[in-house]
Amino acid sequence: MITEFTPINALIGGALIGFSAVILLVVNGRIAGISGILSRIMVPAHNKEELPWEISFVIGLLLAPILYFFLTDTSANVAVSANWWVVGAAGLLVGFGAVIGGGCTSGHGVCGLTRFSKRSMAATASFMSTGAITVYFLKHVFGG
């Protein structure tokens, strides 16, 4: 699927993501790191007082697209690989790598870069590079 460069929608969407990170930090005192939130919900730590807001955050993530498409009377137009082996391997790598690496695009890519964290800069450089190399092989070498 060819997609158009949509800078305005990207900036509006980005602003909403930034607003979300601000609420979590200023009000709840925590970093908006989605891989961390998900992994702590599935394998909770001893301290369970963070669970209620983490679960309600995930509910918000799930509800937002339905609400958006309902309110705008539009429908989702998305394309994903139909190969279960490819998406299965991709999911495993994303889940495993994000938790081992201490964050994903939200925690490192948005919150970490906003804090000028050197670890997050290194992590972002790492996943952007391997992501670009992977897509290069996927599209231009294997021609998928």
């Binding site: 930090l25 209620p52 993530l61 991709a90 690496g101 490192h108 290194a122 992977t134 996927l138 231009h140």
Partner: protein
Amino acid sequence: MLRAFYGLLAGLSFGAGLTIADMINPAKVQNFLDIAGNWDPSLAFVMGGAIVVAFPFFRLAQRMGTPLACDDFRLPTKIALDNRLIIGSGLFGIGWGLGGLCPGPAISALTIATSSSFFVFAIAMAVGMILARIIMLRA
């Protein structure tokens, strides 16, 4: 309760942002990573927009003694660049490129999924997270 309410608000805002920016579309994310093909720089603008909005408030938070709805700020304390950070992030990037999904969009896209692939991805991601979390908690 207050924290859970704000958690919901933050989740809705994050999910709406991903939806409006079309980041729940794996093809859009892969096109961002496809520098040699039909490159779509939108994702960089999403990150940039988020950082520009968050930055002044993150600065403000540094001067607040406590957050508005709890006792303490809990921020990452590690400083050193270690192998886990780089290798973990590198593996994450390979999966991100292969599938075009990262954890936020993978969850948000479930409710509007047009293909069973979204569910396969999310289940595999959960398995990967649980495995890594067990390893990290033991270490």
